[in-house]
Symmetry: D2
Subunit: 338 residues, 4 copies
């Protein structure tokens, strides 16, 4: 259920309702909107009797929520969520560009890449320090050493750091170094990790599992929001289908549906989505055209020598060219890349 407050409701009125909700054994979520505040209620096993709130002042409407997800739904919060950084934002007019290597491999590699993507106009640097790998025998990342290199790159370039938390144990360490905590596709239904991320102080970039329906992606985000962290960015990165020429099938239709049903920002990772470097630039442009709030691009100084996911990484020159085109596309769809 959602309690929509009157435009002139006071903080005190809001707090009293929250207290009542807690008293009933549920959890209140205060959601500020452009016009007025709404209070989402979670933790209730079924419908709540509106009578409980009959004597409270400041309430405009009490709205039953029809979807299995609540806090991520536009029913609960019609306005787009915008996540603000000092010098950037995700989900508003600005298109977010997140670029960098799949994995942090060395000081030289990450610093060189950071400088290059910064110069091209990216504001966020990606790079994995903890790498979940299909094989136990593959390179698993530089771990804390990698996080430190990312921090150094931030220091040097001013880029914000996006890096993956692989499990609950290493989440606190990632949280310390990262500006955005990434949860990888394979962990989309690692509910313990989602809950922990819901208690983290940093925004969370949640990748869609390659098997996951849009509804399940919303439910996974709901795990995070229901713990109090409302700064969640969804990420479409390709689903698994029968096609074998591409690594995954990038589902740009999902981006359009997500924008219709949820207020959360959604970005696209065409590099993992297709797995073919030559296809990344056209799909990045397509993603922005389809309404995505940003793209995440794998960029590597020497794609052919990458320790992880080389065939889908593009080089600096390709990234420069792509950025010029993305800026033009952004303008066509009334967005901007600054």
């Amino acid at each position: 259920m959602l309690i929509s407050m009157k435009p002139n409701a006071t903080t005190e009125e809001i707090e009293k309702i929250c207290e009542k909700i807690r008293e009933l054994g549920f959890t209140p979520h205060v959601i500020p909107g452009a016009q007025r505040v709404a209070i989402g209620i979670t933790g209730n096993p079924g419908p709540i009797d509106p009578q409980h709130f009959a004597h409270f002042t400041g309430i405009a409407e009490m709205i039953p929520v029809s979807k299995p997800y609540k806090l991520v739904s536009r029913e609960v919060k019609p306005e787009d969520t915008v996540i603000h950084f000092e010098n950037a934002s995700i989900g508003g007019e600005e298109i977010a560009i997140i670029a960098g290597p799949c994995a942090v491999e060395s000081r030289e590699q990450i610093l060189e890449t950071a400088c290059a993507v910064k110069e091209a106009g990216a504001k966020f640097l990606r790079g994995g320090a903890f790498k979940p790998r299909t094989s136990p025998y593959s390179f698993q990342g530089l771990k804390e050493e990698g996080l430190k290199l990312l921090a150094e790159a931030r220091e040097k370039t001013g880029l914000y750091i996006v890096t993956e938390a692989k499990d609950v144990q290493t989440l606190p360490m990632v949280e310390e170094y990262a500006d955005i905590i990434q949860i990888g596709a394979r962990n989309m239904q690692n509910f313990s990790l989602l809950e922990a991320a819901g208690k983290a102080s940093k925004p969370v970039l949640l990748k869609r599992g390659m098997w996951a329906t849009i509804t399940e992606l919303f439910m996974a985000a709901e795990y995070i929001l229901s713990q109090g962290n409302y700064k969640v960015i969804l990420c479409e990165r390709g689903i698994r289908t029968f096609e074998t020429l591409t690594r995954n099938t990038l589902d740009l239709g999902a981006v359009t549906v997500i924008k219709q049903l949820s207020h959360l920002p959604v970005i696209v990772d065409p590099s993992h989505g297709i797995g073919i470097a030559a296809s990344v630039p056209p799909l990045a442009k397509a993603a922005i055209s389809a309404g995505a709030d940003g793209v995440m691009i794998e960029v590597h100084p020497q794609p052919s020598k990458a320790l992880s996911d080389g065939p889908q990484s593009i080089g600096f020159q390709s990234f420069f060219t792509l950025m010029k085109e993305l800026k033009k596309i952004a303008r066509v769809v009334n967005r901007k890349i600054t």
Copy 2:
């Protein structure tokens, strides 16, 4: 195998090689290129001994073809295939816009729609007269009556007609009325129909089956080309996946791969690809950004009253707005809509 001729090879030299190929029991396909002519060979069960051609003049190179498809491959013809109409083209600089209702329902409906999409800038009118339907109890189209109405719309507007041939029996009738013969997704591996279309005099728009890999789409096109009809336009229209919020999963990554591997034009049908009207405009823009040579859009005077596929059709106003945006997107990717 592919025989690449010298730039100055004579028609006579080419013809002599073709004769030799026929003599060996195979079929020669003369493929003109920007610089020089190539001769594809089909019908051979395995590799052909190059010795057969040792004494012929005018040959530059003999190239084994590594893919199961030959005539559709860029290995055989590196330049893009452009299909020319008096007043339009598909596969070149121009982006093709094909618009109209799912099914021709009445004289008024089709004429009104034709005028509207013409005014907005489309050059091709779509509309089904023979409708393959999942249920035997659903509306199956106006049949020849529908074709006549399409012809009347062409007469009135100058639009070229794209309409579906449902089976071998009705193909000749469709061929007579249509400017482009459409083969629907469910018929993508109706090999008898493909062979018949390969003998038709009109270009063929071949839709990807919702179960079909890109390679299988190429093989289906190969059926048509191998019969001598080289004017084939491929069409991505969504594949079947586990996602249930969308009708299909539109695979724009496939567009990028098709452009890499084949010289044939490829267009996108976002209406069937997603099945949600609000998602059609963003996906149409995404398709052009991804490198498609055109889009096919379901437009209906009153989408909510359509006899077939109403929920995915857009109205005239939405189409007008979309066309303006598509023109801008086309410019960004160095294409044009005239």
Copy 3:
């Protein structure tokens, strides 16, 4: 809608109701049951007003049908459909064994195989004379020559012939030679072929498309039944998924669901379903255990030399061993192989 007649309703009463249905512009389907006759109505665009039948005698009940498919539904006909041959049946207590090569390749091959599978206990011989192939350059079958060889094999062994009709044009020829007309997976939604098969005099074996939901399979069968041919055998043969180690994913769960929802017999083709010879015997046993009414097994004198689908064919010795085990499994599930 379904009109359920009283147990003692007369032929005259039934015929009068059918006349009324025809008069309303719809099609009556008289469906004999164990206790009483039912009359299915098709061709009606929406619900029919029961008032039309208010004054007719012999009617027990008028039942609205809730599924999009009608004639194939157990709602309309609760008893299993059994298709009888002189010396065999499909859908009753007896388990049907259909065996033979993917394609008829030569007189020797088909006769030798026919004798072997007959001796092992099969009552039906499969073998393709018209082969739909992904590539236009692959072996397409011996065509009428192949049908004649099948007829000769029947002559010699008494086996019933199951062979595929690839298109409407060759259907009459196949109908002449075959005891059961097979419609292949790729043709499951070739609606013109389904309609033609619905007018044929022989039973139809309808394979599930590799992309098709169970409901779509039912709708395809409905095309055949609605034309008056009620002798349809459904065939599960694997669907397309992301798994690449197997050719398809055999969906034995579908068999259980089909038996719950439809009265039609359902058999399983493990050879195409998995594409690995060593997996065929265990999956054939699993199919019978899951409730299938029969299995269709690819058997070849020399699997490694088969012109089509060799890797999934088993040899005579394996088939003999399998038949012994299938007989035991049949007994456990209260069926028999005679």
Copy 4:
């Protein structure tokens, strides 16, 4: 690489080779076989020069392993792995029957169910205490309380307990109470959990992710084995496809392929695999026929009142009947249920 020792190789010879492997920076895995011992090597980034072992005695052969998975492969260990319990075994002649509710709900529910399935002939009791749920608002299990109830049920019936570890944090607690630690489908690529399970003292039941290829399932198992826990039971429980009438598509073909490629036991969970109670018994029989080493069945005293997954649970009476049939099926495939 695999070092196959001579039948008469001494423990000392084996240990010397292990030392050398450790010295090279890799990990040796001693794998006892029926005839002779093999030593698997993991941790090597590429091929190992056989020269390193040129001067060691007792070596019969040095075999390169061609698959990305090593320790789970039949190439490394041709004989079936059998996991022994005091009074039962999994992977040998005996078919393992694991039965019980989806979730432990109450003392009465679990004890009643334990007694019933014990009486019917099951040797293993399943029941979730930690439940990973798609929605944060769904019942998440009784946690340690649930584990204690399972232990009480074991006390009372002698059944072995199979229960899920949801994350690394609760794994030690689950390990303490369980006889077999289950890793759920959504956690199949939770690599931190797999590694932790690889260090556990109890056998691990690893469920196939609904998106996972067979090869990925093997790689997940390899994570566990490479940490030294060789007691892994694989579990097929349905994959995600486009079909919507069933919850998942149970892939019994995968069972046949797993048995061909790996020595690990594989069981089948038809309850999750299909999600329809009436389909569970036929699919359980099919699983054993297909060669599975056991089945895992959801049984509940009152399926319609289950807190989790009620529609796929069967009642006691159905389970009794099923067990009788399974015993007969087991005999047909030369296995037994004691």
